[in-house]
Subunit: 365 residues, 2 copies
């Protein structure tokens, strides 16, 4: 199949990759230039892979502006394993961690932390079906939290932090950035630990990126499973055991592509334009399309909205799919429509959806 | 780069993949036929991926002859995470697990199990630098082991079990088959749990295959990290969280290729021929090449041997690399040369190495 036969993939993740990245990966898939074997086959101990792996680490730090007091790790197990690894490493017995409860994924993170220690919910949007990000004024912290945990973008509900929360002085801030990492410039120095499943903005499924402040390494209790201790991986620069080689290679290509496209400022402008078009379409529909998120909490990555009836929503998704606009069905906890428009999602796809929305309303409004 | 520019990759893993698999993956990399997006981008909740994922599960069961009382799981974290997950799920507090100590990987598995409960070493080859697989007569089991753990192939030392050990009646047998799974027919019904990192005989790095007897699910203690509980993944048929989509797709292609090539009987014949050529070259060198493994414990996957001096070994590896025979340097704990010749390693590569060995001895002997 050729590139021209590609459809628009609005799925929430795994998600669309930049076409030049796919084309480069395809070109070199059977034999990497100068290596004579596929990147799918190279040893993780080879010079060729060390160059890719350490190169991706350094490129990420340069692109994201991560300083040397943080360590980048390439792990496996997704955000799900991080839900456990974070408290395992940072929540000593008898202490409390504070969590912002802003959606399904933060609820899952809370459930895993509760297995390790006490959890205090510092603010929650549950009462209004997670349609907003709680403001700083709503935060009620526990006496001495071991850390504060946030989820910067809530894929299912389509909400996103547009500020770094102010937390008590000296308390480490942990961020699950799975669905919006690298969508904009961000001051990584304000986060003690950031983690992200790679399958939305970074690479393919099977890679988890962790950026952890080095002074937080080595705090896992004695007797921890070796894989669950961040120090294990930091000490060996992500090569303690065989890492997901191909996903790291693709990450490196994605980072290179982002840099060539002007870095994170330019990415933020593109994402603002794409999300802006969709929210404008919602706001100009005279209430026919109803956005789920409150305007000041709207996500630039996942745009969620309802139609006047579930029957119309069903038809919307079916007809959109038939026109090559795929993956628009909303998550069952919100219903309706969700358009996921991560970094690599093309503007042409957003334009096509906006056109389809107008036409669908004309025919059914 | 084209297929003709490929070299011979003797590396211990990640390792060589069948060329037709690489070529099919490349053909469809930008857009999967009938799907319109890359397999690198498809949602793990899509019909297209369910077909791939459940298809790979069923194909594996058919090819390996796994019955319905076992569950196939696609996980992440490699054998390293399994070293912890096995005792976490199967070693209740206060009980003992028996381990066969046959190399570096079994030592690592033992270290992780000791964090969970008692470990009794039922037999060991440590005294003779892991040059052999202990026989059934040497096994000294503990009173009531929770399970017995073996490593069917020892990548670093080049030894392999050529029998299924006889364990006390009713005791679950657990096998780390990372480096020889599907190299030959095997009676999976004799194993309560089998695990294997995919990067040698199955697929690429980043996927771990687990085959577990269903009655052993649900034994992880309350409060276990959700990812570490086999029941989590079994209940959702490996889709509890986002699995390594591309690695599962490649696994499916590898399984299809193995079936088309005559299944595991045929694979065993090919592997026997390949290993046979190398061991014959060692045995006919009048002691110039010295195999590390005792003859009855020789691996068909990793052939390890020494030369008369370390200086010659260095030169052997360097000259072989220059001739396109890559990855032959032995692991530091054995030294010398290691030729890893997994399922997908071509016979032509073994012939080339055998020729090189004879010539190298002629020039330096």
């Amino acid at each position: 199949m050729t590139a021209s036969q590609r459809i628009f993939n609005f799925s929430a993740g795994p998600a669309v990759l930049p076409l030049p990245v796919l084309e480069e990966a395809r070109r070199d898939l059977v034999a990497l230039p100068g290596v004579g074997m596929s990147v799918l086959e190279i040893s993780h101990r080879s010079k060729a892979f060390e160059k890719i792996c350490f190169g991706a680490e350094e490129r990420f730090m340069r692109l994201a502006g991560v300083a040397d007091d943080h360590q980048v790790l390439f792990l496996q197990g997704g955000a799900t394993l991080q839900f456990s690894m974070v408290p395992w490493n940072l929540l000593p017995a008898g202490s409390t961690a504070d969590y912002f409860e802003t959606g399904v994924w933060s609820e899952k993170a809370i459930a895993e932390a509760r297995k390790v220690g006490e959890v205090h919910v510092a603010a929650s949007s549950k009462a209004t079906r997670h349609d907003r990000i709680p403001g700083d004024g709503e935060s009620r912290y526990s006496a001495r939290p071991a850390y504060v945990h946030m989820t910067s973008n809530n894929t299912i509900f389509g909400t996103q932090y547009h500020r770094v929360p102010t937390v008590p002085a000296g308390v480490p801030l942990v961020n699950d950035a799975s669905s919006d990492i690298l969508c904009r410039p961000l001051d990584f120095s304000r986060f003690a630990l950031t983690y992200a499943g790679a399958q939305k903005n970074l690479s393919i499924a099977g890679l988890t990126l962790v950026v952890v402040r080095k002074d937080l390494l080595g705090r896992a209790p004695a007797g921890s499973p070796v894989y669950l201790d961040y120090a294990t991986h930091a000490k060996e620069r992500s090569l303690y055991n065989t890492p997901p080689v191909f996903a790291i290679y693709l990450l490196d290509l994605v980072l290179e592509h982002l840099l060539a496209q002007g870095g994170l400022e330019a990415a933020a402008r593109r994402n603002g334009r794409k999300a802006g078009m969709l929210y404008a379409a919602i706001d100009s529909s005279a209430g026919w399309y109803r956005g789920h998120a409150q305007p000041d909490s709207r996500s630039t990555m996942n745009v969620t909205f309802r139609l006047p009836s579930e029957e119309l929503e069903k038809r919307f998704v079916a007809e959109a799919t038939a026109e090559g606009l795929d993956g628009l069905k909303g998550h069952r906890s919100v219903g309706g429509v969700r358009a996921s428009i991560y970094n690599a999602f093309p503007e042409a796809g957003v334009e096509a959806l906006v056109g389809f929305m107008a036409e669908f309303q004309r025919r059914n409004g």
